[in-house]
């Protein structure tokens, strides 16, 4: 098969989701002219960036055949610890490293329990969801930590080549993640263990170690998202990130990744995250109540996955 055909085939699978995204944008554009302004579009991508970054890790985890429910809590924990470090006078660079390492550590504990302790990912990460949330609350005594220097807030407010910093980071991470998933051993093994774990083990892949790493990455990306969120709000909340895990899972499955593992793409996940972002933003602009928004988002998730499954079956 020619490379061109191969790419065409890969993109064809994303085409449905992409058309969905374009249709949504069209609908909102007709409803409210303000929707399709540069400032609003930048707004959407900025709002999407946090979910989209978490969803990168989620995509790796789900392709590997698992699930990660702890990302929202890890985000809160890493956020408050980074914030606390900053308040204690730790240099920005090190504070960020601390936050991301904490995220990696929490994720790696998940991986450890799943790979060596043979816990189902659902249970292990459900436990971590509570543990990390408790950690965040303990660390702050339940109070938010606020007020940071301008040089830290650059992570949310700054621009690079006139692209908002969070969006820039998001794009960079998606390019890197896509490369890892499609061109490296780590990526290949992620698909292999999700497609058939037994066959992966019998092919000599150190599945346990790679699992540890994949959950670690998921936690680390939550730590990174926490930094952007903290910078944007100029405040780290111990109750931040509630339900973020579900948004990330939704973005991943809307993007065509199978919850059974073994297949999926990051391009799909990015489109999935954008669909969620556009939907929230558009409904907000139209003044739709948040109760109805919830319902609509739920219906969109179900419809997207239903259509994806029907398309796959026909193939």
């Amino acid at each position: 098969m020619l490379l061109k055909d191969k790419m065409a085939l890969n993109y064809k699978r994303q085409l449905g989701t992409l058309l969905g995204l374009i249709a949504l944008i069209g609908i909102f554009w007709i409803s409210t002219p303000y929707f399709l302004t540069v400032s609003n579009l930048l707004n959407i991508t900025r709002q999407t960036s946090i979910n989209a970054i978490i969803a990168i890790g989620m995509t790796f985890v789900i392709i590997s055949g698992g699930i990660d429910l702890s990302v929202g809590s890890i985000l809160a924990f890493a956020g408050v610890v980074t914030a606390g470090s900053l308040s204690a006078g730790v240099p920005i660079f090190f504070a960020i490293i601390i936050g991301m390492l904490l995220g990696f550590f929490c994720g790696a504990v998940n991986g450890l329990l799943i790979a060596w302790g043979h816990l189902p990912p659902f249970i292990s990460t459900l436990g971590m969801m509570s543990i990390a949330r408790g950690g965040a609350l303990l660390f702050t005594g339940g109070r938010p930590i606020s007020g940071f220097s301008q040089s830290f807030r650059v992570f949310a407010e700054g621009r690079f080549l006139s692209v908002p910093m969070p969006v820039f980071i998001m794009i960079l991470l998606y390019i890197l993640g896509h490369f890892i998933l499609t061109r490296t051993k780590l990526g290949r093994y992620t698909y292999a263990m999700g497609g058939n774990e037994e066959a992966a083990v019998l092919s000599g892949i150190h599945v346990k170690l790679y699992k540890l790493f994949i959950y670690g990455i998921s936690g680390m990306l939550s730590g990174l998202a926490a930094i952007i969120l903290t910078a944007r709000l100029n405040s780290a909340q111990p109750i931040a990130g509630i339900m973020y895990e579900l948004d990330a899972i939704a973005a991943t499955v809307i993007g065509g990744t199978s919850l059974m593992g073994g297949e999926g793409t990051l391009l799909g996940t990015l489109i999935g995250a954008l669909i969620m972002g556009v939907l929230r933003n558009g409904l907000n602009i139209m003044g739709v109540s948040s109760f109805i928004q919830q319902t609509i988002i739920g219906a969109v998730i179900i419809t997207a996955v239903l259509i994806d499954m029907m398309l796959k079956k026909r193939k």
Binding site: M1, K6, R183, T184, K185, L186, R188, Y189, Y191, A192, G195, N196, E198, A199, A200, V201, L202, S203, G204, I205, H206, G262, E263
Partner: protein, 496 residues
Amino acid sequence: MPGKIILEMRHICKKFPGVVALDDVDFQLYEGEVHVLLGENGAGKSTLIKIISGAYSKSSGAMILEGIPADIQSPGHALELGIGTIYQELNLVSQLTVAENIFLGREPVNKLGIIDSRQVIRNARNVLAALKVEIDPQARVVDLGIAQQQIVEILKAISMQMKILILDEPTSALTRQEIEKLFDTIRQLKEKGVGIIYISHRIEEIFEIGDRVTVLRDGRVVRTSSIDAVDSSDLIRLMVARELKEHFPKRKAMIGAEALRVEHLTRTDVLDDINFALQKGEILGITGLMGSGRTELARAIFGVDGIDSGNIYVNGKKWVIDSPRKAIEAGLGYMTEDRKLQGLILKLSVSKNISLPSLDRVSNLGIIMTDSEQQLAKRYIQELQIKTTGPDQLVQSLSGGNQQKVVIAKWLACQSDIFIFDEPTRGIDVAAKVEIYQLMNQLVARGASIIMISSELPEVIGMSDRILVMCHGRINGEFDPSNILQEELLKCGLGI
């Protein structure tokens, strides 16, 4: 012939991608007869019974059940029509009791809709007594042996008052006494007018229990006749038709130095003091009944399951193989019994499956060099003549024989030279089998060595240089294939 025809199959065809499994098959089953289906693996027996039992749909042809055309949609539908099937793989819920399994889905309930457990047990006792089987109806299935589980499965079908009962190799794991009991039951069922389709590889059994026999070969009916009109050598000739030599193109390779030696390999309750050596250029056949420890031995050598004691030497050097990674490093390759469940990643392409254990060879600093990977795949696609549209075709859309070749390519690509092939030709057609055998010849000709685990005795005799027979986790005998009969291997495997 007594009674009337209860099932008639006319001009049945079944096509799979690349394979015609059944070609214009006619088949009749009378009331109260035991109709034996005979044929080699891949001849089409299982396909035929899967069509009758609703697991497959036929490509063309007609099925007439008690004079009425029937279009069986699903296994559930077949059960409703009174067609019960007992497959080789048992379908019991292991955590439920014997009684609960027998009446699963048909539990007697009281007025409130609550299951009457006492009645379940009472009914089960009746069924057990009718067959004079001594199994506790309240025992959990997981605690029973294979033979007992098989009997429970048969009791379940018997209790459903089936008009047609299909038995797929029901005696393969039973002892002589248990077989007697089963035959008694079959005779009772005949009295009641049940039509029985009976599949077995044991020719002597067929004369004991069968009324008529249909021989299938390469998806066609070769002959249907009364059992009295044929003898066992007729049947074998009809089944095989080709000379055995043509079927098993065995070429002896130069036997060289020792490649693998296993000493005192023990895993409590599974493997008991296993000792053997494997030479370069040798195909060592290992056979034995289901559960005799064949596959467990392969898994132990390949480092999948831990061992309690014993040593493994590869090329004279002692290796502690505690993971498949270590085994691959030592030069071992393992083609598993169930390629779909354990051997392949079906959602990935041919090239990605081939390169999986040897990604290091085609990557640099963890980054895969796509061109080298494609070249690697193309090389083996050509060398093993894998029929595929290209390296990017998904493995799930290949035929069984070609999937098996992908597994072999996988191990060749990581330069394995000691191969463990567990049931290498299960579920692939005759032509593909011969290709796999030829590949095995090529491998040993190059100085590789092969452990071939198989329950197909003709294959074991036809392809091995030496045969080990396992029974209850032990090696029960070693044989020279040039002067051994299937019966002797079977006896050894049964521990008689």
